[in-house]
Point group: C2
Chain length 211, copies 2
DNA sequence: TGGCGTATAGTCGGAACCGACTAATAGGAG
DNA sequence: CTCCTATTAGTCGGTTCCGACTATACGCCA
């Protein structure tokens, strides 16, 4: 399976917007922010203009007008091509069907949870849990104010619900892990170097060896 | 809060490994794979060597030996410095405490779920659910074979449990959403351009408009 | 014994990404 | 009316990242 020509999902957002109307890049960025899509797409001016150029190179979008108001910088307005629209749909389809490996920073840190020792680890996770609660509340408020009040159809913000669900799961895992650390059910081994390699202390008289 | 000097978490993995023993980069990569840490860290030879160089530049690790066997390419063996070790712990602490925005591809695709239409969307999500089930089963088998059989302390693979939990949550959301699409409880509006902007069809006689 | 596949170890050039910067205008405070 | 800030619009250069590539050595089967 050949890799996609463009992999930055910001390009997906651009194609999605241009389905509605021709637009210039700056307007794309502000529209995405207005619609709270900046939680799903990393909007960065530099990347955005690079992405738009790449889309033009592949013939998925094309410039339709370059206007100038006063002596402000020129604005180039883009529109999608038919190729762009069909690629848009195919791309979404593929992204939905096939899970790909992601490498969240949190997972990396959890990998070395042991390095903090049980007390500091539990404390750090507790702080994270607090931040997650805030984030979940804020997101809930946003949903209430948009979908909840009927301003926006639910389908148009379904990804926010999805993210919310993911954070709730992370919060649940975090809390459970804090409890397991505190009540000792997550055993905390200690390392030691021996002649044959590494040894760690084990609960219930079990001894393990590696290397 | 100043940004970290090194942001690639692969550097974290390197620091973690060198805590045990001096090593050369190739060995780091194979050790990480052996320990199933390649699900939490994106291991890429190019990035790895770049990362190691960056760590040396910052004084977090240092070369301790350059050996050569036969006419094979030279191997440079590295060890951590004390600075490196303290940065390692601080970095983990920070990553655990502070959630940062991540932009998974799935979230991007879900943002434009509407573009597929209800039938294709449900079908695509169903395929994903199948892949997730496989992945969850495989991961469960790995855990059973390592932690379950007492070969490895649970703490050393805790991030695998964390990832498993996240996939299970994603699977649950995916299944729920498929159901909601199929039974019509996730209403699927249609767009139309009017003089004043955009209009979408709404359930129960409600009409929405956007600028 | 010669040829093929795999493991070892690392290099390199280009693509992608980022965020600080420029520069003009509009809007409000005093 | 002038100064200050926010908004609009986009540019640019440096860093990071990636994966295809090189090159040697080893095992094994025919």
């Amino acid at each position: 399976m050949a890799r996609r020509k463009i992999s930055n999902t910001l390009a997906l957002a651009v194609l999605g917007l241009l389905r509605e109307q021709p637009m210039h890049p700056y307007e794309m960025a502000s529209t995405l922010r207005e619609r709270h899509k900046d939680g799903s797409f990393k909007i960065n001016s530099g990347s955005l203009y690079d992405t738009v150029e790449a889309l033009v190179r592949h013939g998925w979008i094309e410039p339709v007008e370059t206007a100038r108001e006063g002596r402000r910088p020129e604005r180039t307005v883009y529109a999608t091509t038919e190729l762009g629209q069909s690629e848009f749909v195919d791309w979404i389809d593929e992204l939905l069907r096939t899970p790909v490996a992601e490498y969240p920073k949190f997972m990396a840190a959890v990998s070395y949870l042991g390095a903090l020792g049980p007390d500091r680890a539990a404390e750090a996770l507790a702080e994270r849990a607090g931040h997650l609660v805030e984030r979940i509340e804020e997101t809930g408020a946003v949903l209430a104010d948009t979908v909840g009040s009927g301003k926006v159809p639910r389908l148009f913000m379904i990804e926010v619900e999805c993210a919310l669900h993911a954070w709730e799961a992370e919060l649940a895992w975090t809390r459970r892990t804090i409890d397991e650390i505190r009540d000792g059910s997550l055993f905390w081994p200690t390392f030691e170097r021996t002649a044959e390699g590494w040894t760690w202390s084990a609960p219930a008289d079990r001894k393990g060896t590696a290397g």
